[in-house]
């Protein structure tokens, strides 16, 4: 059996990758994907703990997170499309003002 620490290490690596991608990348789509990466990093640690302690609540939480992430993806992509239509760019450094 794979020890818990390996799962957690992988989860941490995934999360840090997400954070770094969020901070470094300029494209909104990439940033969006970095967020998903962070969420799934967290999900991994949830299921790892659930398996370790034989508790279902961790699994249930993961489903919640996936549902919220799906909804967030829908809303987020809609916002990205709206931003692209008005500004014709997906570079976040150029989207620093609320007013046009």
């Amino acid at each position: 059996m794979v020890p818990l620490s390996c799962y957690l290490l992988l989860s941490g690596i995934l999360f840090v990758c997400g954070v770094l991608g969020f901070l470094i990348k300029r494209n909104i789509i990439t940033i969006f994907m970095s967020i998903e990466l962070m969420l799934n990093g967290v999900n991994l640690s949830f299921v790892a703990f659930a398996a370790q302690w034989h508790s279902l609540s961790g699994q249930v939480f993961v489903f919640f997170v996936m549902v919220v992430a799906a909804a967030e993806a829908a809303v987020g992509l809609a916002i990205i499309i709206a931003v692209y239509r008005t500004r014709e760019t997906l570079n976040v450094d150029q989207v620093n003002l609320l007013k046009l």
Binding site: V19, F22, L23, R26, V92, D93, V95, N96, L97, L98
Partner: protein, 668 residues
């Protein structure tokens, strides 16, 4: 004690007049304004007469409690009024002379744009003055005291567009504040030690203090502080400086406030507090010394003045000095007697001077007058009565009152021949400078107005101005007599100045006031009975000497200003420095400016303004604003709108929280 429920109407009537004229006078015609002012003031006079007619020593004093004011534990002050013999005399003088001056003002101020304002202020002044004299306790008196100061400020600075008038108003007010400070402290002392400000209570408490310790501190302190107040209000050394400057106001103001009524408030207050002063011999002595010094000092300044109103101003200061001299030697009734006659003749002098000024188009310099007896016979006649009165010629009014003061100054147990001697010298000086004024103004040739040469070369422009003036009755070239509305009060006052002193013959006036000055009178009587026969002869001798002094003043003025008009200038030249010092009022104003005013202004500028106001208060506000701006300037960069920097902050924050939790977990 008898109640008189209508007493409060006396002061309130002029207040109503002041209110009506002050608030809606701008929209009323001048006739209506005059009617309102005169009716309300006249009604107060009428009520005073009614009160006087029903006055009897048996039922006096009368009082009227209008309303509660302050109630704090056992200490209470009410709005209550009070009439005894002393207030009655003051009441009649204030309303009577005040009413005459109101009538006179109608003629004098008719052409002024601020006519309604002037009449309103006059009525307001009457209200405060009547509050002062009718007060039943020191605090209500203090309302009147401050109020006349306010009215005085408004009236002195009546022509406020003129810098000197505005400055004179301020000066009067500020100098009065110094006196008020003393008065107020005296009131605090009374509250602390007697628990009351009511005259009856306070005087009762004073009487019951043990004889040995009474003068040892408290009463002397109260007396001296009251005297500080009186010196401010009544223009005594060293606070007299405001009165001569106050001549910037219109002449009726000088007559009403700075001769007949307001300046006498100090004398009234000292006389009212006679119970306190009687038990404080030190304070009495200070009062007498201040009065005597002021009398002499102001009289010497009066000699060298050339402005007709300034001469009268200094003579007022000097006469007030006499009154304080009288109060200081315990002869309160003599002081009040002189106060009354002074109100008549000084009111008359000012009004007559105003008539002169009015008649020659606003000129106040006596060197540009002369020969006016031909142009304005009535003014001349009334002024003559007033001049002979103030000089102390028998049987004019001031002869009786001044003689009474001088005799008391010599004979009373608190008196001394020094007071008497200075008093006689002052009488001589008074007679001299008043006759100097009289000769300069009414005798010789008219020295004002344009010469024939000027008239010929007058431009068309000047002609137009001249015509306008002639229509208004202000022709400069030929002096003219004033209208009857101004002469009427002059004549009435002249009659009063002539006969006003006769009420004092045989000590009747003193007898009338005796119930008020009970304690003073007993010592007086004791003294009189001791040396009755010798006293009579001495009194006669002293009387002759003071009359001789008056005659001497007259002769000297006659010789210098009538027979040899060139002589005074030569004498002034020979005296050189001395003359300049006197003509410049001993440089007292300059001395005060250097000693008090300039340090005050410099201190206020460097310490209070630049130091505290700009350096501390402004700096605190400005610096905290600057600090907020600098901090915000940095904090502002956090909120750049840049998504990635937000994310960075969130990540950093998250990292910090995790680090903290890990660290806490480790330490536990």
């Amino acid at each position: 004690m008898t109640q008189n429920p209508y007493l409060w109407l006396v002061p309130l009537l002029p207040l109503a007049g002041a209110g009506i004229n002050g608030f809606i006078g701008r929209r009323l015609s001048k006739k209506t304004i005059s009617a309102i002012a005169l009716v309300f003031c006249g009604a107060a006079f009428g009520m005073a007469l009614v009160i006087a007619a029903g006055f009897s020593s048996a039922s006096a004093p009368y009082y009227c409690d209008l309303a509660h004011w302050l109630r704090s534990g056992s200490f209470q002050v009410d709005f209550s009024f009070y009439v005894d013999q002393l207030s009655l005399v003051m009441l009649l003088v204030v309303t009577g002379v005040g009413f005459l001056i109101h009538i006179y003002s109608v003629g004098y101020m008719w052409d002024d744009d601020g006519y309604y304002r002037f009449m309103s202020y006059l009525n307001l002044f009457m209200f405060f003055m009547l509050t002062l004299v009718l007060a039943k306790n020191y605090l209500v008196m203090f309302i009147g005291w401050e109020g006349v100061g306010l009215a005085s400020y408004l009236l002195i600075g009546f022509w406020f567009t003129k810098d000197s008038a505005a400055a004179a108003g301020k000066k009067a007010f500020i100098v009065n504040r110094i006196g008020d400070f003393g008065f107020l402290i005296a009131l605090f002392l009374m509250i602390k030690h007697f628990g009351s400000l009511d005259f009856t209570h306070v005087f009762g408490a004073v009487q019951s203090l043990p004889q040995e310790t009474a003068g040892a501190g408290l009463l002397t302190a109260i007396g001296l502080l009251l005297m500080v107040g009186a010196a401010g209000k009544s223009a005594q050394v060293p606070l007299y400086v405001w009165l001569p400057d106050a001549m910037e106001g219109p002449t009726p103001v000088s007559a009403l406030i700075h001769a007949a009524t307001m300046v006498t408030a100090g004398v009234y207050m000292v006389a009212r507090s006679s119970a306190i002063f009687d038990r404080a011999p030190m304070a009495m002595m200070v009062v007498a010394i201040i009065g005597t010094l002021t009398a002499l000092f102001a009289a010497t300044i009066g000699i060298a003045q050339t402005d007709i109103k300034k001469v009268l101003a200094y003579s007022t200061v000097s006469q007030l000095g006499y009154m304080f001299m009288a109060c200081g030697v315990g002869a309160f009734s003599a002081g009040i007697f002189h106060l009354m006659t002074h109100a008549f003749f000084k009111g008359l002098l000012f009004l007559a001077a105003g008539s002169v000024i009015h008649g020659i188009g606003g000129e106040q310099d006596m060197r540009r007058m002369g020969g006016l007896r031909l142009y304005m016979p009535w003014t001349f006649l009334t002024m003559t009565v007033a001049t002979f009165t103030i000089a102390g010629f028998p049987p004019f009014a001031a002869y009786f009152s001044k003689d009474e003061i001088l005799w008391k100054a010599y004979s009373s147990p608190n008196g001394s021949w020094v007071y008497w001697l200075i008093g006689v010298i002052t009488a001589f000086l008074t007679s001299f400078y008043m006759f100097r004024l009289w000769f300069l103004t009414f005798f010789g040739d008219y020295r004002g107005g344009p010469t024939a040469h000027d008239v010929k070369h007058e431009s068309a422009d000047a002609h137009a101005v001249h015509d306008k003036h002639a229509q208004e009755g202000h022709d400069h070239s030929t002096p003219h007599e004033s209208p009857w509305i101004m002469l009427g009060p002059l004549v009435v006052l002249a009659i009063l100045s002539f006969v006003g002193g006769w009420v004092g013959i045989g000590g009747r006036f003193e007898h009338f006031l005796a119930p008020v000055f009970q304690s003073g009178l007993t010592s007086e009587l004791a003294h009189q009975s001791s040396g009755e026969a010798a006293g009579k002869a001495t009194e006669l001798l002293l009387m002759l000497i003071s009359v001789a002094a008056a005659v001497l003043g007259f002769v000297l003025a006659w010789a210098l200003y009538f027979r040899r008009p060139q002589l005074p200038a030569r004498i002034a030249e020979r005296l050189g420095g001395l003359y300049r010092v006197v003509a410049n009022k001993y440089y007292i104003d300059e001395l005060y400016a250097a000693l008090f005013v300039k340090p005050l202004i410099d201190g206020s500028t460097t310490i209070l303004w630049h130091g505290i106001d700009q350096g501390v208060i402004d700096a605190a506000v400005n610096d905290s604003a600057t600090a907020a701006r600098i901090i915000s300037d940095d904090a502002r960069h956090m909120q750049s709108g840049n998504l990635r920097s937000y994310a960075g902050w969130v990540a950093a924050g998250g990292a910090a929280v995790i680090a903290y939790m890990v660290w806490m977990g480790v330490t536990h």
